[in-house]
C-alpha cells in the first residue's frame, strides 16, 4: 500500500532532518551543568546513537535494556513507538505526551476548520449562484471582485480587518480565545474566506455550464418555477466541482490554520506545528507532521474516490 510507503518516508526523512538542525531541545540561555545535562539527555535517550534513537522512536520494540533498573518499574512494557501510535513525551511540555497534546488540540482545529468550511460553503455557494444567475450584472461584478480579493488577501490581513471592525469599532465579538460559538465566528471567517472565494468561482462556472444545458431548458419549458429549476436541477450538476474541491479544502483548513490560530489565540494544532519546530520539540514536531501527512493523504484519497462516484468515466484502477 502506497500509504504505508509515504508514511514511512515522511517519518524517516523528518526524523533525520529534525535531528540535523542545529540546536537541541534543552538548549537555553543558561547553559546547564554537565551532570544535569547528562541526565536530561539520558531520560529522552538523546545520548544514544541516532539510528538507535530512530528505531526506538519507530518501535515497536523497546531498545532500552536498562529501562527497569534506571527508571524503576519492572520493565514489563516492551512495546511502544510510532507503530503502536505512541508518540512519546513532549520535550518541551513535560507534563504531557504528544498523544495527549494532539487529542486536546486536534478537535479544536477540526472545529475551527469546520466553522471555516461552513462560512466558505455558505458564502461561496450563494455568491456563486447569484453571480451565475445575474451573469454580467453589477452584482456579478461585485461578487467576482470580492472573490478575487478573498483569494488575493492573506487570511491574517482579513483577520486584522475583522478585529478592527467587529471587536474595536463595533464591540460584538471577543478578540481572541476559544470557548463558545462567538469565539469561532471571526477566526472561522478569516480562515474560510479564501476558500469561500474559490468556491464562489467554482460554483459560478459550474452553474453557468449547467444552466446552458438542454435539460434545464426542458425544465423551464415544462413550466417549473425558476426556483425549483435551480434548486432541483441546476444545483445538482453545478455543484459537482465544489464537492470535488471539498477534500483539498478541508485538508487545507485543517493544516493551514497556523497563523489564524496565533492571531486569535486558539489552542489548536497549528500553533504546535510552528512552536514544536522552533523549540526543537522533536517528538511533538514528528507527531504533528505524521498527523498532517495522514490527514492530507486521506483527504486526497477521499477526493479520488468521490471522483469515481460522481463521474463514471474515471476509473479507480487507472489512477
Amino acid at each position: 500500500m502506497w500509504f504505508a510507503v509515504t508514511l514511512f518516508c515522511v517519518v524517516t526523512i523528518s526524523f533525520f532532518m529534525m535531528r540535523s538542525v542545529r540546536g537541541g531541545p534543552f538548549d537555553g540561555e543558561r547553559t546547564l551543568d554537565p551532570a544535569i545535562e547528562r541526565n536530561i539527555e539520558a531520560r529522552y535517550h538523546l545520548d544514544w546513537p541516532l539510528p538507535k534513537q530512530y528505531f526506538q522512536y519507530v518501535g515497536p520494540f523497546n531498545l532500552d535494556e536498562h529501562r527497569a533498573e534506571i527508571f524503576g518499574g519492572d520493565g514489563s512494557k516492551v512495546f511502544g513507538g510510532v507503530t503502536m501510535l505512541e508518540f512519546g513525551p513532549s520535550f518541551k511540555y513535560k507534563d504531557f505526551t504528544v498523544d495527549q497534546i494532539i487529542s486536546q488540540s486536534l478537535p479544536i482545529s477540526a472545529l475551527l476548520g469546520m466553522v471555516a468550511m461552513m462560512w466558505a460553503l455558505a458564502l461561496g455557494v450563494s455568491a456563486g449562484i447569484a453571480s451565475a444567475l445575474k451573469r454580467g450584472s453589477r452584482l456579478d461584478l461585485a461578487m467576482r471582485l470580492a472573490a478575487t480579493g478573498g483569494i488575493a488577501l492573506p487570511n491574517f490581513v482579513i483577520a486584522g480587518f475583522l478585529i478592527i471592525f467587529f471587536v474595536f469599532m463595533i464591540p460584538l465579538l471577543p478578540v481572541a480565545g476559544w470557548g463558545s460559538v462567538k469565539y469561532m465566528l471571526l477566526p472561522g471567517f478569516a480562515l474560510g474566506a479564501p476558500y469561500a472565494a474559490y468556491i464562489a468561482r467554482l460554483t459560478r462556472t459550474g452553474m453557468l455550464e449547467v444552466l446552458s444545458q438542454d435539460h434545464i431548458r426542458t425544465a423551464h419549458a415544462k413550466g417549473l418555477a425558476p426556483k425549483t429549476v435551480i434548486m432541483r436541477h441546476a444545483l445538482k450538476g453545478g455543484l459537482l466541482p465544489v464537492v470535488s474541491y471539498l477534500g483539498p479544502a478541508i485538508a487545507g483548513v485543517l493544516t493551514g490554520s497556523l497563523v489564524i490560530e496565533k492571531i486569535f489565540k486558539i489552542p489548536g494544532l497549528g500553533t504546535h506545528f510552528i512552536n514544536s519546530a522552533l523549540n526543537r520539540d522533536y517528538t511533538l514536531a514528528m507527531g504533528v507532521t505524521i498527523l498532517f501527512t495522514v490527514l492530507i493523504y486521506s483527504m486526497n484519497t477521499i477526493v479520488d474516490l468521490a471522483y469515481t462516484m460522481l463521474d463514471p468515466r474515471i476509473d479507480l484502477e487507472e489512477m
Binding site: G23, T31, A35, R43, I70, S105, F168
Partner: protein, 584 residues
Amino acid sequence: MAPFLLLAGLFVGALYLASSARLEPADYTFNNSTEVATLDPARVTGVPEGRIIKALFEGLVVKHPRTLKPMPGMAESWSVSEDLLTYTFYIRKDAKWTNGEPVTAHDFVYSWKRFLKAQTAAEYAYQLWYVQGAEAYTKENDENGEPLNSFDTVGIKANGDYILKVKLKSPTPFFMDLMAFYPMFPVNKTNIEEAMARWPDNNEWEMQWLRPENLVTNGPFTVEYRRVNDRIRLKKNPDYWDADNVAMNTIDALTIEQAGTALNTYLTGSTHMIPSVLPNLIPKLMPREDFEPVAYLGTYFYRVNTTKPPFDDVRVRKALAITVNRKDIVEKITKAGQVPAYGLVPPGMAGYVPAEFAALDPTAAKIKARELLAEAGYGSGGKPFPVMEVHYNTSEAHRDIAEVVAQTWRDQLGIDAKLQNQEWKVYLDTQNNLGFDVSRSAWIGDYPDPNTFLDMFVTGGENNKTGWGNAEYDRLITASASEADPTARLAILKDAEAILMDEMPIIPIYFYVTQNMVAPRLGGFYGNIQDEHFPKFLYWMNDEELAAKRADQPGAWEIVDDVGPSEGLYAPAWTGPVPSPSNN
C-alpha cells in the same frame, strides 16, 4: 446534499462539545505569555513557570509585594547563627498539603534531596549549592547516575517535625531571597510515591503526579483545569494556612504568545495584566496610568569573542564599547525608560556601588576609540580592520539595536560591521561554540545581588561564552563568597566588576525595565525590581480605593477604563478599604 448534511451534523455535534467545556470568566485573568514547561517546581527555570508555581506551592518564605522583604510562608519564623552559616527555620504547624498531611521539615529535606539529585535533572540545582555538601551531591555520581555521597553529607537536616536546619558553605547574603525562589518550593512525597507505585513507567509517573486531579500542593491556589496552550485555571485553596488573606477565588493564566493579540485582549478587558507590549507602541502607552515601567534586574549587552583576532585585543574591545551610543538606543529604540548601561550590574542592589566605565560624548568617544584602534595597529597607517558581524537572534527589537550599533561603528570607526541574525536555537548554538564576533546577550538576575551577574564570567564558566578569563577576577569572585562582612563583600565584587569593565569581554548596552500593563483597579500588584508578584496578595480595589489611588498619581497620566468589579474584591479577613498585606 449528503456531504452538506454530514458537515452540518458534525458542526452541531462539535458546537455542543465545545459549549460544554466553557468556563466562567475568572476573577483575575492574566497573560502568562507561553505554555509552562511543567508544574514541577524542581524542574522549571522560566518566569512564566514561576508565576504558576508561586500560586500552587509555597516555600519557607514569600516576598512582600512592594518591598520584596521575606515574609513568613511555610516558615513561621527563622534565625541565623552568628557566623551567618546556619539558618534555622521554624515550620508553621497550621500548614497543610491539599491531601490533608501537615507540611513538615521532612518535606523540605525530601524535596531538596530530590532537587539536588542529578537524576531529577533540575536545571536550577546550582541555586542550592550554597549549602554545604550540596554541589558534590549533585555532581558526583556513579555510572548509573546514583549520587556517590549520602545525603547525610549535605547540610540540610530536619530537627524534629517542625525545625529545619540548613548549613551553608559560606555566608550567603541573598540566601533568604533564594528561600522565596520557586525552584526551592517543597513537593509532597506521598503525591510522588503514589504516582510511582501506580505508574511504574518513568515517563508515565513523571507526568501523572502533576495532573490536576493528582497534584498535591501547599500554596494559596490549586489547579482546577488545564488545557495545553490555552490556560491554567487556578482556584483558591480553602485549606491554605493564610486563606483568609487571599482575595481572588479564581485566576486564569493564558498562554498568548503574540504581543499584539495579548494587547488586544487587555484592551478589550478580557485580560487584566499582560507582562509585555509591542515595542513600537510604547510611546503611545507611556502616558497611560496602567503602563508604568520600573527598573528591572536585567542587563542587555553584547558578548565579544575574545578568542578571535582582532577581538582578542583589549584595545579593540574598548574602542567598540565606548563608541556605542547608548543614549540613542534607549531614547530612540527601546523608549520605555531603559537606563544606558556602562557596567554589568544593574542599579538597585542595596549597598552596591557599581564599577561603571566613563561615558563619553560621541565626539570624545570617536577620538578615544580611534586612538585605541591605532595603538592596536588598525586604521590609517595600520592594517585594515577585518569585516565583522553583529550576531543576534531574530527579532525586530534586537535588529533595530544591532543596526544602530553597527552603523555607529561604521561611521565612527570606519569598521565594516554587518548584521547576522539567527533563529533562537541556532543562535544559542553559535554562542555556545564561540562562532561569533560580537553577539547580543541578556541576563536577568535571579536574586538582587551583584553575584548573580558577576559569577557568570569566571574562567570557563558555563555561561561565560566569551572565551575570556582572568585569574584575579576568579580570585575576587571566590573571595567574595567567603567574606562574612557584607560591605567588604560588595567592595570585592565591585573590584571584580571593575576588572570586567577594564577588559571588556562584554559591551553593556542598557538595563531593563518592566513592561507590565496592569488594570488600574488591580490591587496588591506593585512594580518592583524583580518583577515579583506573589498572587496571594492580589485583590480588586473598590471605587473608593481606586479614586484614592488615582488622586495620588501624577495628573498628566491618562485615565483608562477601570475594568474589574466596582465594589472591589477583598480577602475575608480584610476589614478596612485599604488592606495592608504587610507585617515586616
